[in-house]
């Protein structure tokens, strides 16, 4: 059961996403199940389509929300291996997949706190996508590109 604080926070998150220019993402309410998800389609610099999804955990915002790439599915590494098959990977900056969907590591549990807004999480997702495409182009570990871009995040 969501508290009024949580519902207000999620409403605010949706507003901030749009006002910060992340209009491709929204926070949605699934009335039937009374669950929330932030998601949307986005395009990389090279024009490729990706879908990012953040199912909101019941402990949000104290609990870190996971972020998945739900499209393309499956998502392949440069060597043709589905990234979800790599599981928790430092080289690819991924955490445990869910239903075959790749989970991007944005903040670790021991760094997460309630002051982090969803638009920052999506920003990290966009950075991951750009790093992923560099990985595809070069075959080098995605982590190399993420760490380069992290300073600008």
């Amino acid at each position: 059961m969501w508290t009024s604080d949580q519902r207000n926070r999620l409403y605010l998150e949706n507003e901030i996403l749009h006002r910060e220019g992340f209009t491709q993402f929204s926070v949605y309410w699934y009335k039937d199940t009374d669950t929330y998800e932030a998601s949307g389609n986005t395009w990389s610099s090279s024009g490729k389509l990706y879908t990012l999804a953040i199912p909101i955990p019941s402990g949000f915002p104290q609990a870190r929300p996971p972020m998945y790439i739900t499209y393309p599915a499956p998502l392949y590494a440069a060597n043709g291996t589905p990234i979800s098959a790599l599981g928790v990977s430092h080289d690819m900056h991924t955490l445990a997949p869910s239903s075959g969907q790749v989970q991007i590591c944005h903040w670790r549990d021991n760094r997460w706190h309630s002051g982090i807004l969803l638009h920052k999480v999506f920003l990290k997702g966009l950075i991951w996508i750009e790093a992923y495409e560099q990985h595809l182009a070069t075959g080098r570990p995605l982590a190399e590109f993420v760490s380069t871009m992290k300073e600008y995040a």
Partner: protein, 488 residues
Amino acid sequence: MTTDPQQQQMIREAMKAIAERRPGRSKLVYDKTKRTIVAVTDGAQTPRALNITADDADMFAVATLSAQWLTDRWATLRRERVVPVRFSSWDDGDALTQFELGPLPAYSLVEGVVLLGEETPSPAGTTLRIVLHLGKGPVSEDSTFVAPDGSIHHAKTQVRNNGKDESLDTQFVDLQPELALRRSALLETNVLKHKTAVLFGLGTGGGHAAVELAKCGVGRFDLVDPDRLTVGNVVRHPGGLSQVGRLKIRVMRDMIQDKNPDAQVTIHPIEVTAENIETIRPLIARGDVVICGTDNRPSKLLINRLCVKQNKVALYGGAFRRAYGGQVLRVRPKASPCYECFVAAMPEESTDEEISSQGAADAIAYSDRPVAVEPGLSLDVLPIANMLTKLALMELVADTSSTLKVLKADYGAPWYLWLNRPEPGTRYADWPPMSESIDEMTINRWYGIDFARDADCPVCGDFIESIAASYGLDPKNFGDLPAPPTKE
């Protein structure tokens, strides 16, 4: 006191013979050539001088029995003239301790009886018999029992060993008065008896804090931890090898009650997660102080939110990596910074946590880059556990006239820092040696550090109002979020 087992046995036999005024197999004689007392057994003489001291008088085994237990059964004893009693047998029968005295029994148990009068026969198979002889004072002797009707009884205890009866010393103990004796002038024991400490995480820090609070006389505990005691835990945790595999909360429950037999301990083998919030919330509600000794941030964030919401004082203790130091944060909701304020104000300190278990290691590791469990000495964690306990105690006696009240100003800061060593690679690496510094910060000293609440804190501040205002939004106008778009 001699430590030679042969000599001990001979002295014991000789002294027993003297005490019982009967000739024994062993006796003590003065050896003129050696100019000392020696023990002699059937012509055999101990090889060395005995150097008998007052401690040798304590070589008799002793049976310990609760006076309150016997008082509670006095009516039965008067009627039946016999009541059964079970003892833990320690050290090959050197100490026989009533089983009910504490929750931790010995490996070997002895069945016994308390008999009213010598003429009462012992039931068959009885190993130990305590016979109460009606008598007169003095009542100051340990072996004297004063019955509820005021009659005075002297106890004589015998244990059957290898077909022979051997005499034991008997001592009746009054648990609560004796336990309270060393703290009664300092602590409001009767107040603490009705106070509840809720502990999340019963690892080294939480475990030690629980036992220390029990020693102080805290009477109610809620213990929350799903983990079992492992061999690796034993070098730091209060629990020992004989308890490996047990749930830590059960180990700690027994240890608490071994120190404070009247303590009410409730155990909850659950994770501190949002899924268990309906169990956790009422525990916090009934607590007088909350101690969070969990080893991961999500649990601390959750406890913080619930405690702030319910206006409960919470303490967060933890060791830094490899236990080079540690910290304790005390949160008085709305009056001091909360854990989220702490995370925002001191991101590095709040992230510097010891990796003390495989679970904690896995939580921060990628599986292709495993993180090892880090070593950390128990003696480096104990200062943090002690501070955790002291601060908890201060909260529990805050509304009483305890002697500890004089410490109020000393413990005014919300955050306490302790360093065991100037760890290379940390901001403390260049701290001056303790032996050379008086007015600079050094190791092995507690520092109470003040910092301000975050007015825009997501938990104790006006986060939503503040952020909303910065975007020109009014929370009063917040409504429902949109339904997801229909998939084509």
